[in-house]
Amino acid sequence: MRINLKLFATFRVGRFSAEAREYPPGTPVAAVIRDLRIPEEQIGMIMLNNRHSEPDQQLHEGDNLALFPLVGGG
């Protein structure tokens, strides 16, 4: 299945901003994070189709997955 990945802030360094990648059906978010070699403790926010999500969430064809380190502002 095809997943649209978006990375933000420091996660972009040495990786990419946006990319579509193929994964086997049922792949969880955590597996994508491992595939990107992002240590899980660095994950601040996972957004799946514009909603907050969790590492164990299974992905589906065409999902938009956005990963953020812990950042903030105001």
Binding site: F8, A9, M45, H52, P69, L70, V71, G72, G73, G74
Partner: protein, 576 residues
């Protein structure tokens, strides 16, 4: 010995008073709001003789505590008609604290057309007539005052917007690089303008400094506190790298980035204005990606943004400004937004109110959406010069909405709603509705927990838990605003258990007292209730604690949600 200084602009006299015992434990917002509530008739005209403008450094300002250099300014707001506290960085707060000035209270109005300047030093305050700098922008004021009095002089100044008593006018504070920070919200620049004060200069030579009752205890607590700030990924890494503007992409992804005057929740050109792009642009042009607004800031969320030739354009380039002129006005050119930010600093007008206003002005057809050059022109040629149109624009979002018959006007208590859509981030809607300040994200920043996973997580799209979240944050924020601390210490304070006790230990060591966490919460509650009582006596009711109607009836994409809190549900906020 700490003192209160009063400046009476009616008879041009000054007075030094001892600190009343009831005010001894107060600083920053707690003190400005206490003084305004005690001494300003709530029904007075904010630009008339009975309003008072109060400046107060925080309880820890002037000590070596990290990030403690914020100055509170308070008065009745000419924009909202409510009580107002607006705090800013810069060098003035620490200088006033070192001079032992707990509060500077400016009262009355002068007769006649003359303008004045105040000078604060160990000798007290002097009032002198000012002619040369009247009508000049804030950057020119800073340059001229430094040339007159020396590079180290602290400066509080108003630009043409404040002189013309525009209700979006701010008070500018010189920062450590002789640039500008702002008491932005609520039109306090107009209050200073009504009192005919162009600027206040501060010289702290020979000042006694801040005495610490228990230096050893203070040092230990200050070390723990600073470590918490540096250890937390938001204050230690995220904010210094990308500034607050990292939020453009986050809010865009969450569908809560108000776009095209609050008609969409995502901006197609977000990558052009986001924090990541801003960081890379600053680095490529040889600017400074990190920068502090006051000495002792270890978070460094500010930055210096240069143009293509590497020349200074602006600093303290905030998410709310970039969101407002960017997404909300659909301007996708960061250089145009940076230049507009510079002009707003110079003419002395709030960059949040003005950005929200331009979204309404575009809807009104005054200029097209996306017209960054048009924004620059209107700032310079209309607002800066005080033309009839400029005065309507300088009155903020509500003023333009009224003048042009626009119904989609994002304000609460006539203050522009900032950078987070309350339909898709519901906690912040409770803050906008209930804040004693009018719509103000900083007064209870639920974005931390609704969006950023700081201090836990409360689903931004559900109603559950939002009132309680906003209440707890508003109480804590009122207390933090009284310490002189930057509000960004809240990120580590929400997540790192040692942080808040260390902050309280510093206050205790500074004054030789024994406050507990409960005392600090009680202080926060006292502040909110004092401010609310002022607003009630000024004529505000719970009907004013509501969001504009369009939020109830216009679903915002991509989540297609409306604001669905009932009045009764919002009013639960005040049950404490």
């Amino acid at each position: 010995m700490d003192k209160i200084i009063r400046v009476n602009m009616t008879d041009l006299s000054t007075k030094v008073e001892t600190v009343p015992s009831a005010w001894a434990g107060l600083g920053g917002r707690a003190l400005t709001s206490t003084i305004v509530a005690a001494e300003v008739p709530p029904t007075c005209h904010a630009l008339g003789p009975n309003n008072k403008l109060v400046f107060a450094p925080g309880l820890l300002t002037g000590t070596p505590a990290a990030n403690s250099g914020r100055l509170s300014a308070g008065a009745k707001s000419p924009l909202t008609g409510t009580i107002k506290e607006s705090n800013a960085g810069g060098t003035a707060a620490q200088m006033l604290a070192r001079l032992g000035i707990k509060a500077l209270i400016i009262e009355g109005l002068p007769k006649g057309e003359a303008w004045y300047r105040l000078h604060v030093s160990t000798d007290g305050v002097t009032i002198q007539e000012e002619t040369e700098l009247v009508g000049r922008g804030n950057f020119a004021v800073v340059e001229a005052v430094e040339a007159r009095l020396g590079k180290k002089t602290g400066i509080l100044t108003i630009g043409p917007a404040g002189e013309m008593k525009m209700t979006a006018a701010n008070i500018s504070v010189k920062d450590p690089d002789s640039k500008i920070r702002s008491h932005g919200r609520g039109g306090l620049g107009a209050v200073m303008g009504s009192k005919k004060i162009k600027f206040i200069s501060i010289d702290d030579k020979g000042a006694p400094g801040v005495k610490i009752a228990d230096p050893e205890k203070f040092k230990t607590a200050a070390r723990t506190f600073a470590k918490a700030l540096l250890d937390h990924p938001v204050s230690g890494e995220g904010l210094p790298t990308y500034g607050t503007n990292v939020l453009v992409n986050i809010l865009n992804e969450a569908g809560g980035l108000p776009t095209r005057n609050f008609t969409h929740g995502q901006f197609a050109a977000h990558e052009k204005i986001c924090g990541e792009t801003m960081h890379d642009t600053i680095v490529a042009r040889g600017g400074k990606p990190k920068h502090g607004c006051h000495a002792g800031c270890i978070i460094q969320c500010s930055q210096v943004y240069p143009d293509k030739e590497g020349k200074y354009v602006t600093s303290g380039f905030e998410y709310e400004t970039i969101w407002g002129l960017g997404a909300d006005c659909c301007v996708d050119n960061l250089d145009d937004i940076a230049l507009a930010d510079n002009i707003m600093d110079d003419i002395g007008i709030d960059s949040i109110e003005t950005a929200v206003m331009f979204g309404v002005a575009m809807e009104a057809g005054i200029l097209p959406f996306g017209d960054g050059k048009g924004i620059i022109r209107l700032l310079k040629e209309e607002i800066g010069k005080g033309t009839p149109l400029g005065r309507i624009l300088g009155g903020g979002a509500g003023s333009v909405g009224k003048a042009f018959g626009v119904t989609r006007v994002p304000v609460v208590k006539n203050q522009g709603i900032p950078a987070y859509d309350p339909r898709s981030v519901k906690g912040i809607g409770i803050t906008y509705a209930t804040s004693t300040m009018g719509a103000d994200h900083t007064s209870g920043y639920t974005i931390a927990t609704n969006i950023l996973n700081v201090g836990g997580y409360v689903d931004p799209l559900k109603k559950d838990g939002q009132v309680e979240l906003s209440r707890n944050l508003q109480i804590a924020t009122a207390a933090v605003d009284s310490t002189g601390m930057c509000i960004f210490i809240a990120f580590p304070a929400l997540d790192i258990p040692e942080c808040l006790p260390a902050l309280i230990d510093m206050i205790n060591a500074r004054f030789g007292i024994a406050l507990t966490g409960d005392d600090v919460i009680e202080l926060g509650k006292y502040i909110l209730k004092t401010e609310r009582q002022f607003n009630i006596e000024a004529g505000f009711t719970k009907a004013d604690d509501r969001l504009p109607e369009f939020f109830n009836v216009e679903p915002v994409p991509p989540h297609n949600v409306v604001w669905d809190f009932s009045g009764e549900e919002i009013d639960e906020f005040w049950n404490f």
